[in-house]
Amino acid sequence: MSKLLEVKGLSAGYGPLRVLHEIDFSVDRGERIAIVGLNGHGKTTLFRAITHLVGWQRGTIRFDGTEIGGVRSLGEGRRTPSIIRLGIAMTPQGDAIFPGLTVRQHLDCGAYSKLAWRERARRRERIFDIFPPLRDLQGALVGKLSGGERRMVSVGRALMVDAQLYLVDEPSLGLAPKISRRVVDALMAIGLEDRAMVIAEQNVSLLTGKVDRMIGMHAGRLRGEVGHVELG
């Protein structure tokens, strides 16, 4: 399998605070990996560095053969849309991102490519097949939904476009165990083929035996790696 994402010597942080220290890791096509660790140890910052949402970073990030890192970030978020349009879909931590939009509009926001926008109705149906409770909530404001429903909308938005790499940040955060499992099961049911998925999660047991690899993260550094065979 060829490498879809290759990160070398990545350090990143906010202002004077350095959160990530010399991170090296790669993701192959078809792979589903988990980055696990406690809150505040850099999982979210890693995703934000890949999508250029942090103010400062150093190191190299190659996505599908294209260098998307840089000696210095051009400014928080300036390069993010163009990096996302290369084929990276990210579900951020926490609530759905557009609480004042309806479920349908929220999902449509994810259909940024011309093809995805043209096919948005069909793609919405695909999301409703993955998350059936959303079908009856299409016209509801996202901010009025329950935590689990909001998380489904957030993941669904990322799935509206044909991304190569899915970055899913803390899918279980703030959710009841039953709902967390439902969201994770839906993520596992997504066929990857030549695409890849990286899930950041602090609840290790939720992903044990379900992903190809687990990488531990502590104090801004990656610490060890296990395959699912050993965990299972």
Partner: protein, 308 residues
Amino acid sequence: MDASLIVYAVNLAAIYGLMAIGISLLWSSIGMVNMAHGATFAVSGYGAWYAAVTFGPALKAALGGTAFLMPAMATMLAGAGLVVGALFGLLIYWLAFLPIHDKQNFAVRSLIVTLAINLATVQVLLWAFGPRQKGLPKIFGFGRLDLFGVHVRYDQAATIVATTVLLGAVLMWLRHSRKGLEIRAMMQNAEGAALSGISARRTALPVMMLTGALAGMAAVLLSQTVFVSPTAGAIPLIKGLTIALLGGLGSVPGAVLGAILIGALEALTGIIPFLGQRYVLFVQFAFIVAVLLIRPRGLGGLLDETRE
């Protein structure tokens, strides 16, 4: 209350609402307090005046004496105001958004840059057109309608109708178009919008042009009762800013409600014997300070809570 006073208040609310909604939209979508909005107003007024001077005689020669002259003149002036306003919005986008939008403290930097653009524009207009005020042709005529016993001047009726149609079209576009969806996404969460592939640079351009066009329309409509001058945008800018603040900066429904309240307050202040027109701004500021002391989020916050 005298019914004609209500018409006067709604007429003012319509014009100030165009300015306030532009300011509110800009703040909530791209995080810019546009102090050059007054300059956009003044430049658009001159654009409409220049169109009237340049093309008006030809239009009169072609359509003089027919019923088509006035609608054609109105369309030309409104079109000139909208186009010049949109183009000036484009200029502000180039000068005050593109170079600094991803820098720290963009809100403060853009406020300073747009204030500089505003001051420079007033000087350029003085240099180009001189200090003498210009009058636009009365495109709506001098008559008045009698609606259920209430006298409404043609220009008042046309202003209210034109503003309602224009704002309705803008709100429909925001609600149903793809670009409108992107703008609303940016209004709610700029970082989330970036993660959805929505570029601030691309989305800011239509917002700047749209808000510029709204200011241009306001200029043409207000210039039916006041003259065009280099400093003509100062009062509409102050009124637009205060209404946007009153409405809860960033809330379009709040700006509409704020415009109606400020319009009514202005109309009322004008007829109270011991106050009169010279106290209009004082009363408005006192009212806004009182509202913000009680409700720091402005009327927009009140509307949000009502919806919740």
